[in-house]
Symmetry: C2
């Protein structure tokens, strides 16, 4: 079977969070065009106008290897992923649905440990699991367990991912990428003190949400994919400062060792945001109560006029030009949306 024929077969990269994922999602959207009264169906979550406030709705599927890793497990990241997708939209998450598919012979104690871990996030965040479904499939018909969460939230004001304004500071709510590093360390039996950064962000985002022009949680695809999406939607250029990059030394060392693009590392308990100059200090002061590593990592600038058109093949032609890294030597290096190939799937 010619498995690398992406016209005929689904490939791993179609789920990698990079360019190929983006292409497949585009194909799905072309079929499922009908959206009724919903808006923003291309963001992390969809929005429905309730008259008094908005209903926000999102979902995530999790298949992760290993299912238990330093700092978390598949249950914890499923909860955090969905709570955070709602929170970065400016919504207060009010309820989670939990669907589990597992194989016959899965250890009952592992299953219960995952449920307990889900409960811990639920209590910590104040977001209950209110409905669910559990299916069991034959031995070998699934790799242990898949966990899918969906979530609903209520919002007064939506934080979009397209609101970046030229002149804004780009901030990170903490150091990035350690979720991927924790997972890979476990997978390769590499000894490190790094633990997954997975955590629910609803409380910190409830405090700072009103001051953010745009926000996103850099999960699949990491900083690169998420900043490219934000910059492209807002038609701005984002310049990151190498000396301000929010990565731990160990993260940098391990990505170099493994040959992984550091900008594609995922976090499951961090967000990036675009904030006006005026509000940046206030926002960072609040965020530092939750994580001392919260900081400015770059700024947004006007896009060169030649790139502001509505080129149909924007992604293909111009993607190099949305995000730049200003290196310590003062040069500008473009950062691309990950192609998929190099990103180990970690959620």
């Amino acid at each position: 079977m010619k498995i690398n024929d992406d016209k005929k077969f689904i490939e791993l990269d179609h789920g990698g969070g990079g360019y190929k994922s983006w292409e497949l999602v585009k194909e799905i959207r072309q079929i499922l065009k009908f959206k009724g009264q919903w808006q923003n169906c291309e963001d992390d979550a969809a929005i429905y106008d309730l008259g008094k406030g908005k209903l926000v709705f999102t979902t995530d599927a999790f298949i992760v290897d290993p299912i238990f890793f330093p700092g978390g497990d598949i249950g914890k990241i499923a909860m955090c992923g969905t709570i955070n997708d709602l929170s970065v939209m400016g919504a207060r998450p009010i309820g989670i649905s939990l669907s589990i598919v597992m194989e016959e012979g899965f250890l009952k104690k592992d299953f219960l440990q995952i449920i307990k871990s889900i409960n811990k996030v639920s209590r910590q965040s104040g977001v209950p699991v209110v409905t669910g479904d559990t299916k069991v499939t034959g031995k070998g018909k699934i790799d242990k367990i898949a966990v899918t969460t969906a979530g609903v939230g209520l919002a007064r004001k939506i934080i979009s991912n397209n609101g970046v304004k030229a002149g804004d500071f780009i901030i990170a709510s903490g150091d990035l990428g350690v979720h991927t590093i924790a997972l890979l360390s476990k997978r390769f039996n590499y000894r490190t003190k790094i633990r997954s950064d997975s955590k629910p962000l609803n409380k910190e985002l409830a405090e700072v949400g009103e001051y953010l022009n745009a926000a996103k949680d850099p999960t699949r695809g990491g900083l690169a994919a998420n900043l490219v999406e934000m910059a492209e939607k807002a038609k701005v250029k984002i310049i990151l400062e190498e000396k301000l990059l929010p990565y731990k030394k160990e993260t940098v060392a391990l990505t170099e060792l493994l040959g992984i693009d550091i900008f594609s590392l995922a976090s499951e308990g961090r967000f990036i945001a675009s904030v006006s100059k005026k509000n940046t200090k206030l926002v960072l002061n609040i965020l530092k109560k939750y994580n001392k590593e919260a900081k400015i990592i770059g700024r947004a600038e006007k896009m060169d006029s030649r790139l502001r058109g509505n080129d149909k093949n924007e992604h293909e032609n111009n993607k190099k030009n949305y995000i730049y890294l200003k290196t310590n030597l003062g040069t500008l290096r473009p950062i691309e949306m990950p192609k998929g190939k190099l990103i180990p799937r970690i959620c």
Copy 2:
């Protein structure tokens, strides 16, 4: 590995929709007790009071073999399952989330056919798919594809599954069980004209909802599991009439051939309801516009007083006593909640 040790390992029956599923769900609920402001988390969907009306939220995971079968595919039943869970609660489904996990090498054309089938149900029912997630796992790490849908709906008045009243008629919105029969026929290469009954029920339930005392869609676990749940919650006895049973001749013949309990067959486009004597004719007249087979199948009666207590082991001790079949000979035969073992998983 001693796989039939249900204290240590997850078994197929834990997802079968019968008694063992019920036990596992009970264990999950004991951990995930915190429900915030949500109610009815033990019904097909959970309810959140929005002040003006209620938000209803549900989820279903689908792994089905074969993924394409006479009258539908995994995408169609995922959509119908979630739309119907909201509809039987008296909610107007407003949006669906779609999560897909598939294996590397899955045929792109099969994938797109599933998405098109989802779109067809979406258009037919008027319920849009508004958010989603797509993950790809390594070859052999999942049996082709798993589809998980969650759904949100809005309701003014909830139809509970515990509202059966002694004196009510029990009705079925059409003949039952053909979804299971269609699937099994395909699995065993048995030639039949039967096609899955899967269809969205939101329109018919919007018309009759206000006249129903209780409703449920008899999917996993079939008529038996669903009636036992309804009767047990309402502390009533339900007597089904053998001569009124809503099964096609071919369904009866095939279940006898395969040795399957006919009362455990699932439908994906039918509901059963409890209706006051006064409203029954009106309801059936409306339902017959959608399906000529809609009819009375039995009635609810007062439970014997000795069974009305709150015995902790109700399920275990008294389950035989909730549902009876009045045979054509005039005898009463108890119908039990399926144990799981004999129910082929069909969703």
